[in-house]
């Protein structure tokens, strides 16, 4: 693609692009810290992740202002228009990813001193790392304008949903076993949900990359396997319900 005749326009678009790269890098770092904070029970890492969120929020505002200003002053067309729309959408997804990571870090702080179930913590780390990988891949797909790679991310979200389902069941089982687990498990359940939501934002970005490259939305339905919204888990010893007593 050749460059714009007006050099300042070219530079403005490039600046936007580099800010998205910066914001993406921050979101990755923050999510990585939140995962580590949870895994290592490290309050310092958690605090750091919580602080990082402000930089992401600031960047989102800056990007949005610059994008609106370009629309007003330059009336972007075609690929340029799609680029601007893309930047606005991705920055808003990254901002949400920042918020969710911050929330995970807060919960990591809250549970740092509690006795934690090993298997669940392992599962949580796993879903966290998977969502981080999805984020990294989709940001790469964006910077390379690689719609095929974005599509792969889009399709892989199903795996995260499956991990979340199994964590959901496991945590509920712990809560049923001993009500004293409820406080801890609720934090961990929300943490897992947040990772799952981050995965969803990564797929949003994947859809946006597809739009940027091809100019059309993905029309097929994404395979989804988060079934927790409709799941009911029976308490094992509900004798009175079955009228056995």
């Amino acid at each position: 693609m050749s460059e714009h005749i007006v050099k300042a326009y070219e530079e403005e678009l490039r600046l936007l692009d580099s800010q998205i790269a910066k914001m993406g890098g921050l979101a990755e770092d923050m999510l990585g810290r939140a995962i580590l904070a949870l895994d290592r029970r490290d309050p310092e890492l958690a605090e750091q992740a919580i602080k990082d969120d402000k930089a992401i929020d600031d960047l989102e505002r800056t990007i949005e202002e610059q994008a609106i200003s370009i629309i007003a002053r330059r009336q972007p067309m075609a690929l340029d228009l799609r680029q601007i729309v893309t930047v606005i959408r991705i920055s808003s997804d990254l901002e949400r990813i920042g918020d969710l990571s911050k929330n995970i870090a807060k919960r990591a702080l809250a549970v740092a001193n509690e006795q934690q179930p090993k298997q669940v913590m392992h599962g949580l780390k796993h879903i966290g790392l998977s969502s981080l990988e999805q984020l990294k891949n989709v940001l790469n797909a964006y910077s390379n304008r690689d719609a095929d790679k974005a599509m792969k991310v889009w399709l892989r979200d199903e795996r995260i949903d499956a991990m979340y389902n199994s964590l959901f069941r496991e945590l509920l089982t712990y809560m049923m076993e001993d009500p004293r687990n409820i406080g801890l498990c609720t934090h961990l359940l929300f943490g897992a949900k947040n990772f799952e939501r981050i995965g969803d934002h990564a797929t949003n970005i994947a859809e946006t990359v597809h739009y940027l490259v091809h100019g059309t939305a993905i029309t097929e339905d994404r395979p989804k396997s988060d079934i927790t919204s409709t799941s009911v888990i029976e308490y094992p010893d509900m004798h009175w319900k079955n009228g056995k007593d």
């Binding site: 460059e3 326009y9 972007p76 075609a78 228009l81 059309t216």
Partner: protein
């Protein structure tokens, strides 16, 4: 009691919705061009243009200077006939009429395919006479009252009547640029054409006068087929339902305006509308 009773009569006036979508475009073809080439002496200016221009819609021709868009526009009402050394080949039909057939009188054709130019060019006559001229020479008006009705109607359709109704017998050249352009549009529609060609009708006008012409085009397209050549891509995006991009005498791409401006298929279109042409 129901306060908002809907009129039950079948002949109640239909309510025009404010939202006009691209899909509302009449798909009937008004003008149809196949393999149209234009030569100026030895030099070929236009190469095998194929296009269907829909009725009751605005079609915009865009492209850099010298791309052939005005040349093609002038083919549509045989304005190239008057250019020394110009030769047009191929086929252009206005509905069923082959407009280059020997039996077609170019003067009669131009009553069916009117034209508005870049610079407003009212005759050095009164406002009334400017509009009355066409109907008179084409023998459209049957009586003086008839003629007056046509003049008033045309001025109303061109959105000018209110501004000039007290000075119909003053010189048309005394109007402002925007008013003169709307006078030229009134003059064009006075002979009830089917098609109105506009060659950069707003490039000599300020933004307010431009907005008035654009609003007018939006109203006129309810009844006419409009083709506009414009250098302003924003204008093409605002006023047209279909856009055709010309480059180096070739019709590169033609399609729904929203598609052309968000997702053009051809890289040359993309480069031009995003300001990347080297």
């Amino acid at each position: 009691m129901n306060m908002q009773q809907t009129p039950s009569t079948a002949d109640a006036p239909s309510i025009q919705t404010a939202v006009r979508t691209d899909s509302a475009t009449d798909t009937r073809v008004e003008m149809h061009a196949r393999r149209v080439s234009v030569f100026y002496g030895q030099k070929q200016a236009l190469f095998d243009v194929d296009i269907d221009i829909p009725s009751k819609a605005v079609t915009a021709f865009i492209g850099p200077s010298g791309c052939g868009k005005s040349t093609f526009l002038r083919c549509l009402n045989r304005m190239n006939d008057v250019i020394e050394g110009a030769r047009v080949t191929g086929e252009i039909k206005l509905q069923e009429t082959d407009i280059y057939a020997p039996s077609v009188d170019p003067v009669q054709l131009r009553a069916r395919v009117g034209m508005v130019f870049q610079k407003p060019n009212p005759f050095p006559k009164t406002i009334f006479e400017n509009v009355a001229y066409g109907p008179r020479i084409h023998g459209i008006a049957k009586s003086k009252a008839d003629l007056e009705e046509i003049v008033v109607n045309s001025l109303q359709k061109a959105g000018l009547f209110k501004e000039v109704k007290d000075r119909l017998h003053e010189a048309g050249t005394g109007l402002s640029g925007g008013q003169q352009q709307r006078l030229c549009i009134a003059r064009a529609i006075a002979v009830s054409p089917e098609v109105i060609l506009m060659d950069e009708p707003c490039s000599a006008l300020d933004p307010i006068a431009t907005a008035k012409i654009e609003e007018l085009m939006d109203e006129l397209r309810q009844n006419f087929c409009i083709v506009i050549v414009t250098h302003s891509m924003q204008q093409a995006a605002r006023v047209s339902q279909r856009t055709a991009f010309f480059h180096l005498g070739i019709l590169v791409e033609e399609g729904e305006t929203s598609q052309i401006f968000t997702n053009p298929k051809d890289n040359r279109t993309q480069d031009y509308i995003t300001g990347r042409f080297g």
